[in-house]
């Protein structure tokens, strides 16, 4: 429970109309680890392998570009034997070994040895290191979690369909999972030879629980063998999923879904967007149409009547489904980035050498100055002949 802070108990203020204010910040509440269990670690905060961690002991760890350094980092700005970090009388010190480009702390080059308190950082080339003082148990738990996340990422990937390179529909996609794995999933299949279904869903939150939930929902979408359920009716499918996956009985999880059923003979798409932003049709001449019907997230309101929309398209049009992770990116280069700019990119991708969705991903990276994103980046493009 959050209690009001700085509250004066002595001033007869039992009056219910009194105004109380509390400021709480994320990360403020953290169980303190037993002090005697804590160990000193050196961890890479920025650089080639963020999260790489070694224990700091009496025997100093030498950071350098090549062996015999203990901590080798492939960084042209780093000297062969750049600096060393070790314990002296139980305290952590960093010592520059006469490197060419220096070891930097607080923006200045250090000379000789410097004390490194818990949380202090130093810079070597393009790498940032931090002194972490935390319990061994915590670090072990983190490692186990990282490995579970990696397994979940591999599993999610194994469920994704192969690109369609020939036939009446060509489909190509890119999914770059966020570091902590978002809840994005997608799929497509032919219901019969003239009907193509494509869907993308995004579960709220991150981590293995969100990914597991996404997999459960996907399994319904992939094999909709439910009596009385017409696979050609995406609004009915959304309503069915909504009844199956109410948040109260599914760990409080909600999801957004965009689901389209394309009639290739009449060139029409019937779709539902359930708490999901629009998908976009881009015609061969560059004209765009946002396919969007206002509906709520799945799992939020029992009995909600989902409505579908319909659109016609011309030969050579492409249908783009994507998660909010493609436009909710905070640029690292001071540029602006939003949905509108992303859609412009679908119409006129700038030259990167790579075609298709991978090329669009490269474009977003270039425009936002980011290589990794805080949410899953998922884009599925289907082109109709």
């Amino acid at each position: 429970m959050v209690e009001p802070a700085g509250h004066d108990n002595g001033a007869g203020d039992a009056d219910d109309s009194a105004t109380r204010t509390v400021i709480v910040r994320p990360g403020g509440i953290r169980a303190a680890a037993a002090v005697d269990d804590r160990v000193h670690y050196l961890v890479v905060v920025e650089g080639e392998e963020p999260g790489r961690r070694v224990e700091i002991t009496d025997k100093p760890t030498v950071i350098g570009r090549s062996r015999p350094a203990d901590f080798v980092i492939a960084d042209a700005l780093v000297s062969r034997s750049h600096c060393r970090v070790g314990l002296v009388m139980g305290e952590v010190f960093v010592t520059d070994q006469g490197s060419s480009n220096g070891t930097l702390m607080e923006g200045a080059r250090i000379s000789g040895s410097r004390f490194l308190g818990p949380g202090d950082r130093f810079i070597v080339g393009s790498h940032v290191f931090e002194h972490e003082w935390r319990s061994r148990r915590e670090v072990e738990a983190m490692r186990a979690q990282d490995s579970d996340l990696e397994k979940a990422k591999t599993y999610v990937r194994s469920l994704l369909p192969r690109p369609l390179v020939e036939g009446p529909v060509r489909t190509d996609w890119v999914l770059q999972p966020s570091a902590n794995l978002g809840g994005d999933m997608f799929g497509y299949h032919f219901i019969d030879e003239r009907t193509y279904a494509v869907y993308l869903l995004d579960v709220t939150g991150h981590g293995t629980d969100a990914a597991m939930h996404a997999v459960s929902v996907m399994n319904v979408l992939r094999q909709p063998n439910v009596p009385g359920l017409d696979a050609r009716d995406p609004a009915r499918m959304a309503a069915h999923l909504n009844e199956m996956f109410q948040m109260e009985s599914h760990g409080g999880m909600l999801l957004s879904l965009w689901h389209g059923v394309v009639d290739l003979a009449s060139r029409t798409v019937t779709f539902v967007s359930a708490g999901h932003h629009a998908a976009y049709l881009v015609a061969a001449d560059g004209a765009t149409a946002a396919l969007d019907v206002s509906n709520v997230l799945i799992g939020m309101m029992p009995g909600y009547a989902y409505r579908s929309g319909q659109a016609a398209f011309s030969a050579g049009s492409s249908l783009y489904l994507f998660s909010d992770g493609v436009f909710e990116v905070e640029p690292a280069n001071g540029e602006e980035w939003d949905l509108e700019r992303f859609v412009q990119l679908l119409v006129a991708p700038s030259a990167t050498g790579k075609p298709g969705t991978q090329g669009i991903l490269e474009n977003v990276k270039a425009r936002t100055g980011r290589d990794t994103f805080e949410d899953d980046f998922t884009l599925v493009a289907s082109t109709f002949g």
């Binding site: 109380r20 910040r25 994320p26 905070e330």
Partner: protein, 112 residues
């Protein structure tokens, strides 16, 4: 990112500022749910100074609104009309579940 609240009689106003994104959103989201658990009839969640609302924040808003409704109270949101937060609120359909206003006074009048 910060969360604060003020009580006036039977009305609690909770304000969230900054970016409610992945880093740290979990703790702010759970604090929001806790703050709406207080036995007040009316709860206003003021998001007009929020720059960004991630899906985990959406989830916390829905959970809070359900809890407030379940105990017979009323909840309303305050959101800037042309903001990206409003875009998220509309895209996810939160506005079909919790009434949204562009000023705290309108919100207070509506749930009084």
């Amino acid at each position: 990112m910060s969360i604060s609240y003020a009580d006036a009689g039977d009305l609690r106003t909770i304000e969230i500022t900054g970016r409610l994104d992945v880093d740290g959103a979990g703790s702010v989201a759970s604090q929001l749910v806790e703050l709406t658990e207080a036995p007040r009839k009316g709860v206003i969640v003021d998001l007009s100074s929020l720059k960004f609302l991630a899906s985990i924040g959406i989830r916390a808003l829905i959970q809070s609104a359900k809890a407030v409704k379940a105990r017979g109270g009323k909840m309303a949101l305050v959101v800037d009309t042309d903001s990206t937060v409003m875009m998220s609120i509309k895209a996810t359909g939160v506005d079909q579940f919790v009434p949204v206003f562009d000023s705290p006074d309108d919100a207070a009048a509506a749930i009084a």
